[in-house]
Symmetry: C2
Subunit: 395 residues, 2 copies
């Protein structure tokens, strides 16, 4: 076999680990064991049947040929209207390209905002694919580390310093944040915006959890003064409409950038199935009720989880203001997040993600996905807390 | 706005043009004009309703969450069995990754077989996205030109020379060929295989038209001695099963390469919708009858077209042995393929693709897609021949 490229063989270099817990839990389930899975960010419901019927109808009506590469016009228009309504920023269909989910949006924006060798900044802890995506685009990933003590919010001065040192062309942020549940406050966003302007960086803003806000407000940085022209927003129907498997999302960006992204899509994806786009359009037209219904269980479970965690001292609780996750600090046990997660799975068949899976900043933490029915979730958290308490001597 | 990357702004640099005819024809149709469109390779039928019902059933049954990134196991197994049965090469699910159509397969294989700056060879005339795909992967595209006089078959000695000169890491071939309809004979494939072994190149083999063979046999170069270990085959359900819009295909490659391609897919696409994979599985299980039914109209129309072209001398006919296209030599008119196509559209509302859209080797030619009902196709060809005849004085 000839050599594979360096880029494809080093995608995971120095990256996160700890996914063994996830795979081991899946294996235990396959063996018939009763495992409470609180690992990945996938709804415990499927896509709404009405959306599926709309998709099937569109397919039967002929939407099975090549769809327009930028996305079908009515979906681009509906997405532009949605963005404008939610952010107040004038937005047209020319600012939108439909993508096959958030991940291809992450890749496309990193291909668009820098050439091979141009560094790309991202905030640690991070969604697991970020550095690998940058490596796939031959862009050296540079982590902006944060700390539990600072609520995992990035320090703009650090972004500035790292941007200058690395010659970065872009910075990727994610609010509401996976894995921490943090929602960036206005002053954090303002400070990041200033750095991108001072250093002429692109801001890539992953806002796929923007319908899951439990406290405060989500503000899209594209709405800040002067930012619409240097921000590429990544959106997705996955989390907001429980359409994870349908792989449909969008990028909202300056028109000239969208023109270039359309050229890129022509030679990388060649578009998104027309019937899926019709289903997405139908889902958007269903309005707030559908979205609220999908978000509500996570809000309720987050409240239940916080209540179950109240008054105990075995684990620390990172304030979760959004997204479908809750991060716990298990450093008082003396264990790493990974060792704690492995031990918890062994002892109680409860699967959580080690913080180390999401970068160095979240070491000594675990992430709980609020994707299991209420009683089971609360019971798992109670068990987890008691389990952590058995290590209290190590604190 | 910050600068966009060089790579995204130069995707079409020095590339093919002539798509104006296609877009102008679409515009004329939108204005209500009766245009005979013989431009792009899209079936004049939709996806079979039984396939769509299988998809809907799978979705209603819950296949709406994240699917496994490599593809669902039964589809990978079915594709491996298909490849093994058609080529005689032992193939397992570990040799297969499911992709969102042929285009993402082209991108992934070029990301996998070379790093930025590593040249990539392709045969001219070519499917329109080839050089742009290579540029998206930061791989300098190097054309291997051919000629109508040599039936548009690539000369292995030229591939060898260009590979050495450019330091290429891969060569991309496409048989049955779009746009020419050529099916590479055994000695051409043998000679190309030898060059890839002599120069340690990857062979990327685009075989998406492998069910559309009108004369001779399609041989997958992966089946040649020593080639399974250096060949990545790109397959697709688009042409064989009239599923163009569903964006589902595969790459068949050595196991170690597939492992790396799975890592790449995790950070570039994050998989293909599960219900589409189930639909593809259903379509494969329908067997030969479905595939033959889809291919048959193109065979019939190719025969009708050749009959309509017999005995005339206004245009030359490139022997079409496969795929859904027929290429005509219009050099005797004294016009470029592009000027001929523009003039034909103006005079007779018949839209064909200029050969120049597919590279320099096909200049002075036009490509006819056999994607229109028989009578209309024959009538269009008769009109085209008569129209070409009016330029006969220029010969």
């Amino acid at each position: 076999m000839p050599q594979l490229s360096d880029r494809i063989t080093t995608l995971n270099k120095g990256g996160s680990d700890g996914w063994e817990v996830f795979y081991r839990a899946r294996q235990m389930v396959a063996e018939g064991k009763d495992v409470i899975e609180l690992t990945i960010g996938e709804h415990d419901i499927g896509t709404d049947a009405a959306i599926l019927v709309a998709m099937h109808t569109a397919a039967l009506n002929g939407a099975t040929g090549y769809a327009m590469v930028p996305g079908i016009a009515p979906l681009r228009e509906a997405l532009a209207e949605r963005v404008a309504a939610r952010t107040g920023v004038p937005t047209t269909a020319d600012n939108i390209i439909v993508t096959a989910g958030g991940q291809p949006g992450l890749l496309a924006t990193h291909l668009a905002t820098g050439d091979p060798g141009d560094a790309a900044l991202y905030v640690d802890p991070y969604y697991a694919t970020y550095p690998g995506t940058m490596r796939a685009a031959s862009r050296p990933p540079v982590a902006v580390e944060t700390s539990a003590e600072a609520a995992f919010l990035p320090d703009a001065a650090k972004i500035d310093r790292l941007a200058v040192e690395s010659g970065a062309k872009s910075v990727l942020i994610n609010t509401p944040n996976n894995p921490t549940g943090t929602v960036y406050p206005g002053d954090t966003l303002d400070a990041i915006a200033r750095v991108t302007q001072d250093r002429d960086l692109w801001l890539i803003s992953d806002e796929v959890y923007d319908t899951q806000i439990w406290e405060g407000d989500h503000r899209s940085p594209r709405a800040l003064p002067g930012m619409a022209d240097r921000t590429m927003v990544i959106g997705s129907m996955s989390k907001s409409h429980a359409m994870t498997g349908s792989r449909v999302g969008w990028i909202c960006a300056p028109e000239a950038a969208v023109d270039a992204l359309i050229d890129l899509a022509t030679v990388t994806t060649y578009g998104v199935p027309g019937y899926i786009q019709q289903a997405a359009l139908f889902a958007l037209q269903e309005g707030d009720l559908l979205e609220t219904g999908i978000a509500t269980p996570f809000r309720r479970r987050r409240d239940l989880a916080l209540a179950a965690l109240k008054g105990q001292t075995a684990v620390g609780v990172i304030p979760s203001q959004g997204a479908m996750y809750l991060m716990l600090d298990v450093r008082s046990t003396g264990l790493s997040g990974r060792d704690f997660a492995e031990a918890l799975l062994d002892a109680h068949h409860i699967a959580v993600m080690p913080g180390e899976s999401f970068g160095t900043s979240a070491a000594g933490h675990i992430r709980i996905a609020l994707t299991t029915e209420d009683d089971r979730l609360v019971s798992a958290i109670e068990t987890l807390v008691a389990f952590a308490g058995t290590f209290a001597h190590a604190a």
